[in-house]
């Protein structure tokens, strides 16, 4: 449908001022909210791929995420009771203890949210105990995403991941990322997944949670 293509284009281009009008138009034309949402999720997937390949940059990704959010404001009331929103559960995200970098974590957060997770952002410099508390405090936590940019905070990431994995908290997967982190390191510390950037983080998050 042409209108869904228009929705996708608006998201991919980060048209924050036009998206609500187009989403409303799609609704008025009788497109189901679920189909509109799927078009928006597909668009964010394209955005993630373009970011991963270096075709677009941080501002473009953030604008796309904002357009998605604006579109969701129109859609949400129509999706109440639908299984489409937050269908993948809750993701607890943060930067590990000792590390105050937030841009990578923020980008991953917007991408993961766009594919259907409810996000609980713990912020930066998050101690291990706080991760555990947050998992216990929130319903349907299916994913924990730990970010860290510094080599010196890799031990904190290891402690966080291993504490979560050793706890009796189950039904969730742990994904890690950040400049010094590699797939090998993720394997060593027992994380379930690793991604090199925000675009692939969303893909990996979906894959991990759907595999449960």
């Amino acid at each position: 449908m042409a209108i869904l293509e228009e929705v996708k284009t608006m998201i991919e281009d980060g048209e924050t001022k036009l998206i609500t009008e187009v989403v409303q138009k799609a609704i008025d034309e009788g497109t189901t909210p679920e189909d509109i949402l799927q078009a928006m999720i597909d668009a964010m997937s394209v955005v993630g791929d373009r970011f991963s390949t270096g075709e677009i940059f941080i501002p473009e990704m953030l604008m796309a995420a904002k357009a998605m959010s604006e579109g969701m404001d129109i859609l949400k009331p129509l999706l109440v009771g639908s299984s489409s929103t937050n269908a993948l559960g809750t993701c607890i995200i943060g930067t590990v203890e000792g590390d105050l970098h937030d841009i990578g974590k923020n980008l991953v957060s917007v991408m993961i949210e766009s594919v259907g997770f409810h996000i609980i952002d713990l912020g930066v410099d998050v101690p291990t105990a706080r991760w555990i508390e947050a998992i216990k405090e929130n319903q349907n936590v299916t994913l924990v995403a730990c970010s860290g940019l510094l080599t010196t905070t890799m031990p904190a990431m290891k402690e966080t991941v291993q504490t979560i994995k050793a706890s009796d908290l189950n039904g969730l997967k742990v994904i890690v990322g950040g400049a010094p982190i590699t797939q090998e390191y993720a394997n060593v510390i027992g994380a379930d997944g690793y991604s090199a950037d925000a675009g692939s983080a969303a893909v990996k998050a979906v894959e991990l949670v759907k595999s449960m």
Binding site: F57, I58, P59, M63, D99, G104, T151, T152
Partner: protein
């Protein structure tokens, strides 16, 4: 044997250096010049611009705080209400140590290097937070241009004083323009917002006795090199291996030189070893060659985060100079 300055010049002009330029040896950094100081390890400090920086105990550097309490610029459209450039202290006593240091330098052997931390790009996100700054380029471009002009005017005012006081012939200027794998903003956005600012700043230095512009960005920024050349950068310090430095040298050597290619994250970490330092230094020197290249840790000062790493890399460079020249 060439002096350190002569050897640098031979290297960056495609001449006949008699050894590798060894990291920062060609510049004497005048660290005593009044600057907007940062906290010491474990401390917190509010900068003269009002930005609160913390250096967490046991970590590698400082971070600006951007929670609601600490963020300086809360609304880009009202930036004039929030952002106030500090006074530049010109009193003799404050500059005395810097002047004395600069006077002691043998300028035939080394460049007297003024240092400027947190350039125009970093200032935008230090003031308002990275996410907000990135989106403001799209949402409030006019206000961002105005803010950048304001920050640039401050830099120019500081440059004027720095030149009057210590007569630097080199500027070592920090502004990180990317992450490991890509620049933060697109080349076209960089061209629109930052190229004009840096043409003014580096143009001013070059018109006032500064021969050498060394710009620090320990990141990917290969896509910005044409603009680096246009704005007058002579040496890009901090070039990471993700840029494919040998290719950059092949493409742009003669217009700009590259300093780095030894990624600090790979070499300078708690469990570092001399073998890793030697391996990475040798890889860099053999891959990048003798011209338009200065082997160097990507860190933005003549130190390492962990004791002994910087010196070990220097020893490896000396050994490779003996082997390769």
């Amino acid at each position: 044997m060439l002096t350190r300055r002569q050897n640098l010049l031979e290297t960056i002009t495609g001449g006949k250096p008699d050894r590798f330029v060894n990291q920062y040896e060609f510049m004497e950094l005048i660290m005593e010049a009044p600057r907007d100081d940062r906290p010491k390890p474990g401390g917190t400090r509010k900068s003269k611009w009002g930005i609160t920086f913390v250096w967490p105990e046991g970590q590698l550097g400082v971070f600006p705080l951007h929670d609601a309490e600490h963020k300086v610029l809360k609304d880009i459209t009202k930036w004039r209400e929030y952002v106030h450039a500090p006074e530049i202290d010109t009193t003799e006593t404050v500059w005395a140590a810097a002047v004395a240091h600069a006077d002691r330098v043998d300028r035939k052997d080394q460049y007297v290097a003024g240092i400027y931390l947190s350039g125009v790009f970093e200032m935008t996100h230090h003031l308002m937070g990275m996410t907000e700054a990135m989106m403001a380029f799209y949402e409030e471009p006019e206000a961002m241009h105005e803010l950048i002009d304001y920050i640039t005017e401050y830099e120019l005012a500081y440059a004027k004083v720095l030149i009057e006081k210590i007569h630097p012939d080199c500027i070592f200027h920090h502004d990180d323009w990317g992450g490991q794998k890509n620049s933060f903003v697109s080349p076209s956005m960089f061209k629109e917002f930052f190229l004009p600012a840096y043409k003014k700043i580096y143009g001013f230095y070059k018109s006032n006795g500064v021969d050498l512009i060394v710009h620090h960005s320990d990141s990917y920024a290969a896509n910005l090199v044409p603009y680096m050349i246009e704005m007058g950068i002579d040496i890009w310090q901090g070039v990471m291996t993700t840029n494919n430095t040998p290719e950059l040298i092949k493409k742009y050597g003669g217009q700009i030189s590259f300093m780095g290619d030894i990624d600090s994250g790979v070499v300078d970490f708690p469990d570092w070893t001399p073998e890793i330092a030697a391996r990475e230094t040798e890889r860099a020197c053999r891959n990048c060659g003798k011209l338009y290249f200065i082997p160097n840790l990507t860190q933005g000062l003549n130190v390492s985060s962990f004791p002994g790493v910087y010196e070990e890399v220097s020893r490896s460079i000396d050994r490779l100079s003996r082997e390769m020249f």
